[in-house]
Amino acid sequence: MSRNAKFRVWRGDAAGGELHDYTVEVNEGEVVLDIIHRLQATQAGDLAVRWNCKAGKCGSCSAEINGRPRLLCMTRMSTFTDDEVITVTPMRSFPVIRDLVTDVSFNYQKARQIPAFAPPPDLAPGEYRMQQVDVERSQEFRKCIECFLCQNVCHVVRDHEENKTAFSGPRFFIRAAELDMHPLDARTDRREFAQAEQGIGMCNITKCCTEVCPEHIKITDNAIIPMKERVVDRKYDPLVWLGNKLFRRGND
């Protein structure tokens, strides 16, 4: 059942690099990550790649396969024809560290800017009561495995490095939506924050993030659009928002 496949893998670092050609064995049922591992074990011991769970649950092995952002562990070799050359490159929107590994620290910085869940001050641990139907909206967004493929494909930053300062990206819009829709979150300014601080207004709803999401989270329809609409509904006023934030500071 085994055959040989032609792979082109980008090798290099921040200073530059190029595609390297490999011919490598492929067996039935394998995924692209298996082939990368076989290259490591037999032809390129120092080929850098991130991976952990190999089951689509940890979101570590994001890369671009024939130009399409994918998880290496969830891309089956049977989706390619036998004579197809398979090109594997690092995610384009993040700086390369080495080979397929990129510097994704942008995402961790953005994560730290979102005010955390604010527990309701009048409820002790064990007293929380929420209905399943109410938690499900936020649970959809908490399925996120932080593969950052949505961040990688988003037009706002993919070819516009300069937008990264003002724009948090789809992964963190769903974080904002998750907190906004959390039945017991004590803050009421999540939507305003998304507008004023996360740059949700820069999103032009092309849905690339939704299409690429391996967890099939409806990022655009269920998170971004509601967050945009509701901000508009409220006729957002930065001064009122600032006042709310200062007033609520004691609860943080």
Binding site: D13, N27, E28, G29, E30, V31, D34, Q40, A41, G45, D46, L47, A48, V49, R50, W51, N52, C53, K54, A55, G56, K57, C58, G59, S60, M74, R76, I97, R98, D99, D103, V104, Y108, R112, Q113, I114, A116, F117, P119, P125, G126, Y128, R129, M130, Q131, Q132, V135, Q139, R142, C144, I145, E146, L179, D185, E197, L242, K245, L246, R249, D252
Partner: protein, 659 residues
């Protein structure tokens, strides 16, 4: 030593899964300056793979549940080899640890009255596992990750006052000043001690650059997880190379229960590239059944005597139990994992396996498709994407996979302090004793939370007790650690091409899988030890290509030492224990022996000599005595199947709960 960075903290936490993060939260809330080491990126730890849930006797679904019942189930699951104080603390504190997660923002599935829903799981008498579909581990890791972020934000707010608050919480606190800092993609290769053997710090490297990093800290909490990467078929990720186990050994501490390795009964078996990936026990907890190639629900033939009174005799009764647990006994598919794994193994050996060497796990004929997708979304996704199987229409093929090591660092139950090494603590899978010879599903996530917190508090007490006399790293230790870490870049002395680390790893995995796997025999374990000795001699000849920046070959070469050390622990302890109990099954000693229950096998490192590289010494020590009030929770007849005559309570009329 040049080319390195140095940091000073009160406590260094090695590992950023559930135990490490919970320890960090506790230590930070105690006022310590805390560094967290992640081997991978922040939020990718193996905890993320946990599917079923967190066991805690909140009694939300069945109000008969209590910590005593949970304790009893845990001891039964571990075949009474558990350190009883650990099982007691775990059962008592788990509910509080789960409720606390809600205050961090966790969103568990709910009961109709709005409380945290709890599901059935193998070995648990009542529905006990708090869960989020079948992605509970992801929820746990994300919740703790976000709590860590919030502690950092609180510190920033405190540091810069109202102006920053008005600015929207932008980062204003410098990393080096922060009281809590995450070091992602750093691997610790050695613990460093002072002249007396107390912890003084740790040495490691950054994956991204290959440069060295030194931590000076009087307390280290190990939270590195397990050892599964020493086995060929495993549900564990590349990180699970026994680092914490090996670090503790080399620092002078001890490991217990290393012969007990849990083979989860249901891993994927096809296609080969996914062999070993976990299929959650929730499939069975929610109604899935195991069938052999003849279509028979074979588990009814495998109920051991000690569990016979608690499990259904017929399919009809087992099926009624899901709807009416008060008046029916549970189906035997929900026996503890060791029993189910052995049963599957036997069916396949007897020629009643599937085409690919497993058995069928079927939920498609048991539940409507929409319920399956709702309750088991990631299993549906996993099989659909990786195996072309639609679990709402077809049965899954499953077989045992190396999943968890019960053994680990010998710790004080209350403080998580490791034996022999002041300042060293351990929590989670890297610690030993909590689960005895076999862990119940759901008891891992609760273990992480209960003992992670205890380790954080224990480390804080220790550090405060030191006052100004903080242990300092011995002279020369950094150079030794650096030379050791760079050894794989040295060309082989004989001028050849050197050993490939991937080859040695593969050979070790085959040895452990084939010779020290789910069923063991004296001659096979002996052969494994000979093979491990031979591999140990080859490791110094390992040579890697390329340079130090993000070089997986180099990383593996360094991990190999740890894997060989823990593999030797498993094999040596497995050879000594001449009985079958939980995650240790000896073909040549098939019965459970209550004399062996009284013994713990304790592993420590020996120095070796010119002819023999350093190796493992195993000594027998007595198991701790189970307190009378804890024994009183069991029927005497049940105790008789585990304890020796002289251990049984004097009063024969005493028979407590077990109703």
């Amino acid at each position: 030593m040049s080319d390195h960075e140095e940091h000073r903290y009160d406590v260094l936490i090695v590992g950023a899964g559930g135990a490490g993060l919970r320890a960090a939260i506790a230590a930070r809330e105690e006022g310590l300056r805390v560094a967290i080491i992640c081997k991978s990126l922040f939020g990718k730890a193996h905890t993320v793979m946990a599917e079923g849930g967190i066991a805690a006797s909140m009694g939300n679904v069945n109000s008969n549940d209590s910590w005593q019942v949970h304790f009893r189930d845990t001891m039964r699951g571990g075949k009474f080899l558990n350190i009883p104080r650990m099982a007691e603390l775990h059962a008592q504190e788990a509910p509080q640890r789960v409720w606390e997660l809600e205050t961090y923002g966790a969103l568990f599935d709910r009961t109709p009255d709005g409380r945290i829903s709890q599901r059935n799981f193998g070995g648990h008498e009542y529905p006990r596992l708090a869960h989020v579909g079948d992605r509970t581990g992801l929820e746990l890791i994300r919740t703790l990750q976000q709590k860590i972020v919030s502690l950092r934000q609180a510190e920033e707010l405190a540091a810069v006052g109202a102006d920053a608050a008005a600015g929207g919480g932008h980062e204003t606190l410098d990393d080096t000043d922060a009281g809590l800092r995450v070091f992602a993609e750093v691997t610790i290769t050695e613990l460093l001690t002072d002249g007396s053997g107390a912890i003084a710090g740790a040495f490691g490297y950054r994956r991204e650059t290959g440069t060295f990093i030194v931590f000076r800290a009087p307390a280290v909490i190990l939270a590195t997880g397990g050892i599964g990467k020493s086995f060929k078929v495993t549900s564990n990720s590349w990180e699970y190379t026994g680092d914490g186990h090996a670090l503790a050994l080399r620092a002078g501490s001890t490991l217990i229960n290393m012969e007990f390795v849990q083979f989860h009964p249901t891993g994927m078996v096809w296609p080969p590239s996914v062999k070993g990936i976990l299929v959650t026990e929730s499939v069975r907890g929610d109604g899935g059944v195991l069938r052999n190639s003849e279509g028979k629900r074979f588990m009814f033939n495998y109920v051991p005597e000690i569990f016979r009174a608690k499990y259904a005799d017929t399919e009809e009764e087992g099926d009624r139990w899901y709807a009416d647990p008060e008046n029916n006994l549970r189906p035997p598919e929900l026996l503890p994992r060791d029993e189910v794994a052995r049963a599957i193994n036997s069916e396949v050996k007897a020629g009643r396996g599937t085409e690919h060497g497993g058995v069928f796990l079927d939920v498609s004929t048991r539940l409507p498709a929409d319920v399956i997708i709702k309750k088991l979304p990631s299993m549906h996704h996993q099989f659909y994407e990786l195996a072309d199987v639609d679990i709402t229409k077809q049965a899954m093929e499953v077989g045992p996979t190396c999943h968890y090591v019960m053994g680990g660092v010998e710790v004080d139950p209350d403080t998580a302090a490791a034996r022999n090494v002041p300042g060293l603590f351990a929590a989670g899978e890297v610690s030993g004793g909590m689960h005895g010879s076999n862990r119940l599903g759901g008891n891992s996530l609760s273990d992480l939370l209960v003992f992670g917190r205890r380790a954080g508090v224990g480390a804080a007490e220790y550090v405060r007790g030191l006052g100004d006399s903080v242990p300092e790293i011995q002279d020369g230790a950094l150079d030794v650690a650096a030379n050791e870490a760079l050894a794989p870049f040295q060309p082989p002395a004989d001028g050849g091409i050197g050993e490939n680390p991937y080859t040695i790893h593969r050979e070790l995995q085959e040895v452990m899988n084939d010779l020290v796997g789910i069923i063991r025999r004296e001659d096979e374990v002996q052969r494994a030890l000979e093979a491990i000795d031979a591999l140990k001699l080859r490791v110094p000849g390992v040579s890697v290509e390329g340079h130090r920046q993000f070089n997986p070959g180099w990383h593996l070469a360094l991990d190999l030492r740890n894997m060989l050390l823990v593999s030797e622990c498993v094999a040596r302890a497995a050879l000594l224990r001449q009985e079958s109990r939980g995650g240790h099954t000896r073909d040549d000693y098939p019965g459970m022996n209550s004399q062996w229950r009284r013994k713990l096998l304790v592993c420590s490192i020996n120095d070796g000599d010119a002819a023999e590289p350093a190796g493992i010494t195993v000594t027998e020590e007595p198991s701790p005595v189970i307190r009378e009030d804890l024994l009183a929770l069991f029927d005497r007849s049940e105790l008789e199947s585990y304890l020796t005559a002289d251990e049984l309570p004097a009063d024969t009329t005493a028979s407590g709960g077990a109703t």
